[in-house]
Protein backbone atom coordinates (compact mmCIF):
# COMPACT_ATOMS: atom_id res chain seq x y z
CA UNK A 1 0.00 0.00 0.00
CA UNK A 2 2.83 2.33 0.92
CA UNK A 3 4.57 1.60 -2.37
CA UNK A 4 1.38 2.30 -4.32
CA UNK A 5 1.01 5.63 -2.55
CA UNK A 6 4.64 6.57 -3.24
CA UNK A 7 4.28 5.57 -6.91
CA UNK A 8 1.10 7.63 -7.27
CA UNK A 9 2.65 10.66 -5.57
CA UNK A 10 5.83 10.37 -7.66
CA UNK A 11 3.75 10.28 -10.85
CA UNK A 12 1.88 13.40 -9.72
CA UNK A 13 5.12 15.26 -8.96
CA UNK A 14 6.70 14.26 -12.27
CA UNK A 15 3.57 15.36 -14.13
CA UNK A 16 3.56 18.70 -12.30
CA UNK A 17 7.27 19.24 -12.96
CA UNK A 18 6.80 18.64 -16.70
CA UNK A 19 3.44 20.39 -17.14
CA UNK A 20 4.98 22.34 -20.03
CA UNK A 21 6.66 19.23 -21.43
CA UNK A 22 10.17 17.86 -21.16
CA UNK A 23 13.08 20.34 -21.16
CA UNK A 24 14.68 20.65 -24.60
CA UNK A 25 18.28 19.60 -25.07
CA UNK A 26 20.75 22.22 -26.30
CA UNK A 27 20.53 20.85 -29.84
CA UNK A 28 16.72 20.79 -29.74
CA UNK A 29 16.70 24.36 -28.43
CA UNK A 30 18.98 25.60 -31.21
CA UNK A 31 16.86 23.87 -33.82
CA UNK A 32 13.68 25.35 -32.31
CA UNK A 33 15.21 28.83 -32.34
CA UNK A 34 16.27 28.48 -35.99
CA UNK A 35 12.82 27.25 -37.01
CA UNK A 36 11.12 30.07 -35.12
CA UNK A 37 13.37 32.71 -36.68
CA UNK A 38 12.76 31.21 -40.12
CA UNK A 39 9.00 31.25 -39.48
CA UNK A 40 8.98 34.89 -38.38
CA UNK A 41 11.64 36.20 -40.79
CA UNK A 42 9.15 36.99 -43.53
CA UNK A 43 6.32 38.03 -41.22
CA UNK A 44 5.30 41.60 -41.96
CA UNK A 45 1.81 41.42 -40.49
CA UNK A 46 -0.27 39.04 -38.40
CA UNK A 47 -3.95 38.98 -37.56
CA UNK A 48 -5.90 36.58 -35.39
CA UNK A 49 -8.85 36.10 -33.11
CA UNK A 50 -8.12 35.65 -29.43
CA UNK A 51 -9.89 34.50 -26.30
CA UNK A 52 -8.58 35.66 -22.96
CA UNK A 53 -9.11 33.74 -19.71
CA UNK A 54 -8.30 35.64 -16.54
CA UNK A 55 -7.89 33.16 -13.71
CA UNK A 56 -7.94 34.30 -10.10
CA UNK A 57 -8.08 31.81 -7.24
CA UNK A 58 -10.58 34.20 -5.67
CA UNK A 59 -13.16 33.65 -8.40
CA UNK A 60 -15.49 30.72 -9.03
CA UNK A 61 -14.80 30.90 -12.78
CA UNK A 62 -12.39 32.62 -15.14
CA UNK A 63 -13.22 36.01 -16.63
CA UNK A 64 -13.54 35.42 -20.36
CA UNK A 65 -13.13 38.10 -23.02
CA UNK A 66 -12.39 37.93 -26.74
CA UNK A 67 -11.54 39.97 -29.80
CA UNK A 68 -8.96 40.35 -32.56
CA UNK A 69 -5.23 40.94 -32.48
CA UNK A 70 -3.36 42.74 -35.25
CA UNK A 71 0.41 43.07 -35.59
CA UNK A 72 2.49 45.06 -38.04
CA UNK A 73 6.25 44.81 -38.14
CA UNK A 74 8.34 46.01 -36.47
CA UNK A 75 6.52 47.09 -33.32
CA UNK A 76 2.83 47.86 -33.68
CA UNK A 77 0.29 45.66 -31.89
CA UNK A 78 -3.42 46.20 -31.44
CA UNK A 79 -5.60 44.13 -29.11
CA UNK A 80 -9.25 44.89 -29.85
CA UNK A 81 -11.74 43.39 -27.37
CA UNK A 82 -15.29 43.04 -28.64
CA UNK A 83 -16.82 40.78 -25.96
CA UNK A 84 -18.10 41.41 -23.35
CA UNK A 85 -17.10 45.06 -23.91
CA UNK A 86 -15.56 47.24 -26.61
CA UNK A 87 -12.02 48.13 -25.74
CA UNK A 88 -8.85 48.44 -27.77
CA UNK A 89 -5.25 49.06 -26.87
CA UNK A 90 -2.51 49.89 -29.38
CA UNK A 91 1.20 49.71 -28.58
CA UNK A 92 3.13 51.74 -31.13
CA UNK A 93 6.41 53.71 -31.10
CA UNK A 94 6.59 53.97 -27.31
CA UNK A 95 2.98 55.09 -27.06
CA UNK A 96 -0.04 53.30 -25.66
CA UNK A 97 -3.36 54.32 -27.20
CA UNK A 98 -6.58 53.22 -25.57
CA UNK A 99 -10.14 53.39 -26.84
CA UNK A 100 -12.38 52.40 -23.95
CA UNK A 101 -15.88 52.20 -25.40
CA UNK A 102 -15.39 55.55 -27.17
CA UNK A 103 -13.29 57.21 -24.46
CA UNK A 104 -9.89 57.73 -26.05
CA UNK A 105 -6.59 58.31 -24.31
CA UNK A 106 -2.90 58.21 -25.12
CA UNK A 107 0.07 57.66 -22.88
CA UNK A 108 3.80 57.90 -23.44
CA UNK A 109 4.96 54.69 -21.84
CA UNK A 110 8.64 55.63 -22.01
CA UNK A 111 8.52 57.03 -18.50
CA UNK A 112 6.56 54.04 -17.16
CA UNK A 113 9.05 51.21 -16.83
CA UNK A 114 6.44 48.57 -16.14
CA UNK A 115 4.16 49.57 -19.00
CA UNK A 116 7.14 49.81 -21.36
CA UNK A 117 8.20 46.30 -20.42
CA UNK A 118 4.67 44.93 -20.76
CA UNK A 119 4.38 46.58 -24.18
CA UNK A 120 7.75 45.17 -25.21
CA UNK A 121 6.75 41.69 -24.01
CA UNK A 122 3.48 41.82 -25.93
CA UNK A 123 5.15 42.87 -29.17
CA UNK A 124 7.93 40.32 -28.91
CA UNK A 125 5.60 37.52 -27.89
CA UNK A 126 3.51 38.05 -31.01
CA UNK A 127 6.64 38.40 -33.15
CA UNK A 128 8.12 35.26 -31.64
CA UNK A 129 11.54 36.62 -30.66
CA UNK A 130 10.89 37.14 -26.97
CA UNK A 131 13.11 34.21 -26.04
CA UNK A 132 16.17 36.22 -27.12
CA UNK A 133 15.40 39.03 -24.68
CA UNK A 134 18.29 39.56 -22.21
CA UNK A 135 15.79 40.73 -19.56
CA UNK A 136 14.55 37.16 -19.07
CA UNK A 137 15.86 33.76 -18.12
CA UNK A 138 14.63 31.51 -20.90
CA UNK A 139 13.78 27.80 -20.71
CA UNK A 140 12.51 25.69 -23.59
CA UNK A 141 10.21 22.69 -23.26
CA UNK A 142 8.85 20.20 -25.73
CA UNK A 143 5.26 19.19 -24.98
CA UNK A 144 3.01 16.68 -26.71
CA UNK A 145 1.11 19.30 -28.72
CA UNK A 146 3.20 22.45 -28.50
CA UNK A 147 6.71 23.65 -27.84
CA UNK A 148 6.86 26.03 -24.92
CA UNK A 149 9.09 29.02 -24.18
CA UNK A 150 9.14 29.91 -20.47
CA UNK A 151 10.48 33.32 -19.53
CA UNK A 152 11.26 34.48 -16.01
CA UNK A 153 12.07 38.17 -15.53
CA UNK A 154 15.54 38.98 -14.20
CA UNK A 155 14.48 42.44 -13.10
CA UNK A 156 13.24 42.35 -9.49
CA UNK A 157 10.64 45.07 -10.03
CA UNK A 158 9.10 43.28 -13.01
CA UNK A 159 9.28 39.98 -11.12
CA UNK A 160 7.00 41.62 -8.52
CA UNK A 161 4.24 41.62 -11.17
CA UNK A 162 5.10 38.78 -13.50
CA UNK A 163 6.38 35.48 -12.16
CA UNK A 164 6.75 33.96 -15.60
CA UNK A 165 5.51 34.02 -19.16
CA UNK A 166 4.72 30.94 -21.15
CA UNK A 167 4.47 31.00 -24.93
CA UNK A 168 3.16 27.97 -26.76
CA UNK A 169 4.18 27.48 -30.39
CA UNK A 170 2.83 25.00 -32.93
CA UNK A 171 5.23 22.12 -33.58
CA UNK A 172 4.79 22.25 -37.34
CA UNK A 173 4.33 25.89 -38.34
CA UNK A 174 6.01 27.50 -35.29
CA UNK A 175 3.14 29.98 -34.96
CA UNK A 176 2.14 31.24 -31.52
CA UNK A 177 -1.02 29.56 -30.24
CA UNK A 178 -1.15 30.55 -26.59
CA UNK A 179 0.33 33.13 -24.27
CA UNK A 180 0.14 32.83 -20.50
CA UNK A 181 1.19 35.49 -18.00
CA UNK A 182 1.56 34.10 -14.49
CA UNK A 183 1.57 36.47 -11.51
CA UNK A 184 3.61 35.92 -8.33
CA UNK A 185 0.52 34.56 -6.51
CA UNK A 186 -0.14 32.13 -9.42
CA UNK A 187 -3.21 33.98 -10.69
CA UNK A 188 -2.77 34.12 -14.44
CA UNK A 189 -3.98 35.45 -17.77
CA UNK A 190 -4.17 32.96 -20.63
CA UNK A 191 -4.65 34.23 -24.17
CA UNK A 192 -5.54 31.63 -26.79
CA UNK A 193 -4.80 32.67 -30.38
CA UNK A 194 -6.97 31.27 -33.19
CA UNK A 195 -7.47 31.83 -36.93
CA UNK A 196 -3.96 33.27 -37.22
CA UNK A 197 -3.27 34.80 -40.64
CA UNK A 198 0.26 35.61 -41.72
CA UNK A 199 0.89 38.69 -43.85
CA UNK A 200 -2.70 39.81 -44.37
CA UNK A 201 -3.14 43.30 -45.81
CA UNK A 202 -3.39 45.62 -42.79
CA UNK A 203 -3.63 49.26 -43.72
CA UNK A 204 -3.30 52.26 -41.42
CA UNK A 205 -7.03 52.24 -40.69
CA UNK A 206 -6.62 49.04 -38.64
CA UNK A 207 -4.27 50.84 -36.28
CA UNK A 208 -6.09 54.17 -36.33
CA UNK A 209 -6.95 55.52 -32.90
Amino acid sequence: MRNVLITLLTCCFVQAAFAQGAPMSKAQGEQFEQELLKSTANTRTLQSDFTQYKHMDLLTKDIVSSGTMSFRSPNTVKWAYTKPYDYSIIFKDGMMKVNDGGRKSEMDIGSHKLLAQVSDMMTKSVRGDLFKDPAFNVSLFSGPKYDVVVLKPKDKELAGYVKQLELNFGKEDRKIVELKIIEPGDDHTRIVISNLKTNPALDDAVFAH
Partner: protein
Protein backbone atom coordinates in the same frame (compact mmCIF):
# COMPACT_ATOMS: atom_id res chain seq x y z
CA UNK B 1 -44.43 85.84 26.07
CA UNK B 2 -40.90 84.55 26.69
CA UNK B 3 -42.07 80.92 26.51
CA UNK B 4 -44.01 81.65 23.38
CA UNK B 5 -40.88 83.07 21.73
CA UNK B 6 -38.80 80.05 22.81
CA UNK B 7 -41.44 77.60 21.60
CA UNK B 8 -41.46 79.34 18.22
CA UNK B 9 -37.68 79.62 17.91
CA UNK B 10 -36.72 76.09 18.97
CA UNK B 11 -38.48 74.29 16.07
CA UNK B 12 -37.09 76.87 13.66
CA UNK B 13 -33.56 76.38 14.98
CA UNK B 14 -33.90 72.61 14.93
CA UNK B 15 -35.07 72.72 11.34
CA UNK B 16 -32.18 75.00 10.40
CA UNK B 17 -29.71 72.58 12.02
CA UNK B 18 -31.11 69.46 10.41
CA UNK B 19 -28.85 68.34 7.58
CA UNK B 20 -29.94 68.95 4.01
CA UNK B 21 -29.77 65.21 3.43
CA UNK B 22 -32.90 64.61 5.50
CA UNK B 23 -34.49 68.06 5.21
CA UNK B 24 -38.26 67.92 5.27
CA UNK B 25 -38.24 64.34 6.56
CA UNK B 26 -39.75 63.13 9.79
CA UNK B 27 -37.40 61.53 12.28
CA UNK B 28 -38.81 58.46 13.95
CA UNK B 29 -37.72 55.77 16.38
CA UNK B 30 -36.08 52.99 14.39
CA UNK B 31 -37.28 49.46 14.99
CA UNK B 32 -34.24 47.90 13.36
CA UNK B 33 -30.64 47.58 14.58
CA UNK B 34 -29.15 47.09 11.13
CA UNK B 35 -30.15 47.54 7.50
CA UNK B 36 -28.98 45.34 4.66
CA UNK B 37 -27.15 46.31 1.48
CA UNK B 38 -27.97 43.28 -0.70
CA UNK B 39 -25.85 44.07 -3.76
CA UNK B 40 -22.66 42.21 -2.74
CA UNK B 41 -24.11 39.75 -0.28
CA UNK B 42 -23.49 36.35 -1.94
CA UNK B 43 -20.28 34.39 -1.49
CA UNK B 44 -21.05 32.23 -4.54
CA UNK B 45 -21.20 35.16 -6.98
CA UNK B 46 -18.26 36.83 -8.74
CA UNK B 47 -19.30 40.46 -9.00
CA UNK B 48 -17.60 41.79 -12.13
CA UNK B 49 -17.90 45.41 -13.30
CA UNK B 50 -16.49 47.60 -16.05
CA UNK B 51 -15.12 50.58 -14.18
CA UNK B 52 -14.50 54.15 -15.22
CA UNK B 53 -12.90 56.74 -12.96
CA UNK B 54 -13.18 60.38 -13.99
CA UNK B 55 -10.91 62.71 -12.00
CA UNK B 56 -11.09 66.25 -13.37
CA UNK B 57 -10.35 65.90 -17.07
CA UNK B 58 -8.46 62.65 -16.58
CA UNK B 59 -10.00 59.30 -17.26
CA UNK B 60 -9.04 55.86 -16.06
CA UNK B 61 -10.74 52.59 -16.97
CA UNK B 62 -10.54 48.97 -15.97
CA UNK B 63 -12.37 46.03 -14.47
CA UNK B 64 -13.50 45.77 -10.88
CA UNK B 65 -13.99 42.39 -9.22
CA UNK B 66 -15.80 42.14 -5.89
CA UNK B 67 -15.93 38.90 -3.96
CA UNK B 68 -17.61 38.39 -0.61
CA UNK B 69 -15.19 36.34 1.50
CA UNK B 70 -17.32 35.82 4.62
CA UNK B 71 -19.91 37.66 6.72
CA UNK B 72 -17.45 40.43 7.55
CA UNK B 73 -15.10 40.85 4.61
CA UNK B 74 -15.04 41.57 0.87
CA UNK B 75 -12.08 41.46 -1.47
CA UNK B 76 -11.98 44.08 -4.20
CA UNK B 77 -9.58 43.86 -7.15
CA UNK B 78 -9.08 46.55 -9.79
CA UNK B 79 -7.37 45.36 -12.96
CA UNK B 80 -6.77 46.30 -16.58
CA UNK B 81 -8.79 44.82 -19.44
CA UNK B 82 -5.75 42.72 -20.34
CA UNK B 83 -5.87 41.06 -16.92
CA UNK B 84 -3.05 43.02 -15.30
CA UNK B 85 -3.80 43.69 -11.64
CA UNK B 86 -3.65 47.32 -10.43
CA UNK B 87 -5.01 47.22 -6.92
CA UNK B 88 -6.11 44.47 -4.55
CA UNK B 89 -7.84 45.35 -1.27
CA UNK B 90 -9.55 43.39 1.48
CA UNK B 91 -12.12 45.39 3.40
CA UNK B 92 -14.35 44.80 6.38
CA UNK B 93 -14.62 45.24 10.14
CA UNK B 94 -13.94 48.94 9.72
CA UNK B 95 -10.59 48.65 7.99
CA UNK B 96 -9.08 48.22 4.56
CA UNK B 97 -5.98 46.10 3.96
CA UNK B 98 -3.88 46.57 0.83
CA UNK B 99 -2.84 43.22 -0.66
CA UNK B 100 -1.23 44.65 -3.78
CA UNK B 101 -0.84 47.95 -5.63
CA UNK B 102 1.16 48.99 -8.68
CA UNK B 103 3.54 51.91 -7.93
CA UNK B 104 1.34 54.42 -9.78
CA UNK B 105 -1.58 53.66 -7.44
CA UNK B 106 0.38 52.90 -4.29
CA UNK B 107 -0.32 56.30 -2.71
CA UNK B 108 -1.85 56.42 0.73
CA UNK B 109 -4.41 59.24 0.01
CA UNK B 110 -5.57 57.52 -3.18
CA UNK B 111 -5.95 54.12 -1.53
CA UNK B 112 -7.76 55.81 1.37
CA UNK B 113 -10.27 57.52 -0.95
CA UNK B 114 -10.86 54.46 -3.14
CA UNK B 115 -10.91 52.12 -0.13
CA UNK B 116 -13.46 54.30 1.72
CA UNK B 117 -15.72 54.56 -1.34
CA UNK B 118 -15.60 50.86 -2.15
CA UNK B 119 -16.06 49.86 1.50
CA UNK B 120 -19.19 52.02 1.58
CA UNK B 121 -20.37 50.30 -1.60
CA UNK B 122 -19.96 46.72 -0.35
CA UNK B 123 -20.81 47.23 3.37
CA UNK B 124 -23.57 44.70 3.92
CA UNK B 125 -25.02 44.90 7.44
CA UNK B 126 -25.02 48.56 8.35
CA UNK B 127 -25.76 49.49 12.00
CA UNK B 128 -28.63 51.97 12.37
CA UNK B 129 -28.55 55.06 14.63
CA UNK B 130 -31.66 56.82 13.39
CA UNK B 131 -34.51 56.65 10.90
CA UNK B 132 -36.33 59.22 8.77
CA UNK B 133 -39.38 58.89 6.57
CA UNK B 134 -40.74 60.91 3.66
CA UNK B 135 -42.71 60.36 0.46
CA UNK B 136 -42.14 56.68 -0.13
CA UNK B 137 -38.55 56.69 1.11
CA UNK B 138 -37.11 55.36 4.34
CA UNK B 139 -33.75 56.81 5.31
CA UNK B 140 -31.50 55.14 7.85
CA UNK B 141 -28.69 56.96 9.57
CA UNK B 142 -25.47 55.19 10.43
CA UNK B 143 -22.27 56.51 11.95
CA UNK B 144 -19.06 55.43 10.26
CA UNK B 145 -15.97 56.70 12.05
CA UNK B 146 -16.04 60.50 12.00
CA UNK B 147 -18.75 60.64 9.36
CA UNK B 148 -22.38 59.72 8.92
CA UNK B 149 -24.03 57.66 6.24
CA UNK B 150 -27.63 57.94 5.12
CA UNK B 151 -29.08 54.93 3.33
CA UNK B 152 -32.18 55.58 1.19
CA UNK B 153 -34.60 52.68 0.70
CA UNK B 154 -37.65 52.89 -1.59
CA UNK B 155 -41.05 52.01 -0.10
CA UNK B 156 -42.61 49.49 -0.43
CA UNK B 157 -40.02 47.59 -2.52
CA UNK B 158 -37.28 47.94 0.10
CA UNK B 159 -34.74 48.60 -2.67
CA UNK B 160 -31.57 50.35 -1.55
CA UNK B 161 -31.36 53.29 -3.98
CA UNK B 162 -28.57 55.47 -2.71
CA UNK B 163 -26.17 56.16 0.12
CA UNK B 164 -24.95 59.61 1.12
CA UNK B 165 -21.86 60.10 3.25
CA UNK B 166 -21.58 63.31 5.25
CA UNK B 167 -18.59 64.67 7.08
CA UNK B 168 -17.71 67.98 8.69
CA UNK B 169 -21.20 69.36 8.05
CA UNK B 170 -21.29 68.62 4.32
CA UNK B 171 -22.46 65.91 1.98
CA UNK B 172 -19.21 64.38 0.74
CA UNK B 173 -20.06 61.37 -1.39
CA UNK B 174 -23.23 60.08 -3.04
CA UNK B 175 -23.54 56.50 -4.20
CA UNK B 176 -26.43 55.46 -6.46
CA UNK B 177 -27.46 51.89 -7.22
CA UNK B 178 -29.49 50.67 -10.18
CA UNK B 179 -30.83 47.23 -9.26
CA UNK B 180 -30.18 44.47 -11.79
CA UNK B 181 -30.63 40.73 -12.17
CA UNK B 182 -30.27 38.22 -9.33
CA UNK B 183 -30.13 40.82 -6.60
CA UNK B 184 -27.01 42.55 -7.91
CA UNK B 185 -26.63 46.15 -9.05
CA UNK B 186 -26.46 46.64 -12.82
CA UNK B 187 -25.03 50.12 -12.53
CA UNK B 188 -23.40 52.03 -9.69
CA UNK B 189 -22.28 55.64 -9.63
CA UNK B 190 -20.08 57.06 -6.88
CA UNK B 191 -19.98 60.85 -7.04
CA UNK B 192 -17.74 62.99 -4.85
CA UNK B 193 -19.51 66.24 -4.06
CA UNK B 194 -16.48 68.18 -2.83
CA UNK B 195 -13.90 67.09 -5.44
CA UNK B 196 -14.12 66.38 -9.19
CA UNK B 197 -14.17 62.60 -8.86
CA UNK B 198 -16.78 60.21 -10.25
CA UNK B 199 -16.65 56.42 -10.45
CA UNK B 200 -19.01 54.56 -12.78
CA UNK B 201 -19.49 50.82 -12.65
CA UNK B 202 -21.41 48.69 -15.16
CA UNK B 203 -22.09 45.04 -14.41
CA UNK B 204 -20.59 42.48 -16.77
CA UNK B 205 -22.25 39.12 -17.00
CA UNK B 206 -19.36 36.72 -17.30
Amino acid sequence: MRFLLISLLVPLLLQACSPATTKGMTEQRSAVATVNNPYFSRTDVDYLYKMNIQFGDRNFGGLLVVKKLDDQRHRVVLMGEMGNKFLDLTMGQGRTVKNFAIPELDKRPLIHVLGTDLAMMVHENVPVRGEFEADGTAVFLSRQGEGRQYLFFARPTGELQRVVRRGYGKERVELKFTPGAEGSASHITITHLTRPLTIDLDRINN
